[in-house]
């Protein structure tokens, strides 16, 4: 059971990575290379930037999906770790 949750956590992590890249591309296009580098270094900045410009950059689908993927990844990985250690 722990393995299944860990696998689900991995899938959620992959979805989170895809959303991160999509928002990062928009950050590069909208604010330029230096802000893009800042977004790579600090993914929290990319996340906050994505939510603060949700209307402007038409992120209405990506940002809720990214947020859900982050939460799912944390929850599944925690459950996976907990069940595997039992």
């Amino acid at each position: 059971m722990g393995t299944i949750f860990s696998l689900l956590g991995g899938i959620a992590g992959l979805a989170s990575f895809v959303c991160f890249i999509m928002v990062l591309i928009k950050l590069f296009q909208d604010k330029g290379v230096l802000h893009g580098i800042l977004g790579i270094i600090c993914s929290i900045y990319t996340f906050i930037y994505g939510w603060m410009n949700v209307e402007k950059l038409n992120n209405r689908n990506i940002m809720p999906a990214w947020t859900a993927a982050i939460i799912a990844s944390v929850v599944f990985n925690m459950l996976g770790g907990f069940l595997s250690s039992r």
């Binding site: 992590g13 990575f17 270094i41 600090c42 900045y45 603060m52």
Partner: protein, 156 residues
């Protein structure tokens, strides 16, 4: 004025872009980053799950910012040696966080003045751009020369 400046001029303009001033421009951004950083560091301190790097988690390669949170936490606890071993840019990140939150809490006229000053400083010196490039080079050296130690140090 020449509508198509030479590429060297365009590069100069790109490097003198006031990146930090643009982040400081909106009060909400500073507050959001400050709150997120405080929450993240707090969760890390209590060894609870917090924000993890999507690049490292998916590709297995640490990103240029990997280790910065742990280094900043060590710095806040007064452990300079560990902080600098984890990430040499931790003192800089802490200074930027203090600036972001401090500026966000200032009254509007003072905040406007502060943002203008930061923008002027960045345009004159290009310091933010230089530091971002230096951080990328630092990451490349760690990844190519000290690969295993770097990857090991960023693992939970």
């Amino acid at each position: 004025m020449d509508p198509h400046p030479p590429s060297s001029t365009r590069t100069d303009q790109r490097f003198s872009l006031p990146v930090l001033a643009q982040v400081l421009e909106r009060r909400a951004t500073g507050l959001a980053i400050g709150a997120a950083a405080a929450l993240h560091l707090g969760l890390m301190y209590f060894e609870l799950p917090s924000w993890s790097c999507p690049v490292r988690d998916t590709l297995g390669i640490p990103c240029p910012g990997c280790g910065l949170s742990r280094a900043t936490a060590a710095l806040l606890l007064g452990d300079w040696r560990t902080a600098l071993a984890q990430h040499a840019f931790a003192p800089l990140l802490l200074a930027v966080l203090v600036l972001l939150v401090g500026m966000a809490l200032l009254p509007e006229p003072l905040r406007r003045k502060g943002v203008a000053r930061v923008a002027r400083f960045e345009r004159h010196t290009g310091l933010t751009a230089l530091l971002l490039v230096a951080l990328m080079l630092y990451w490349l050296v760690r990844l190519l020369v000290f690969r295993s130690a770097f990857i090991h140090s960023t693992l939970g």
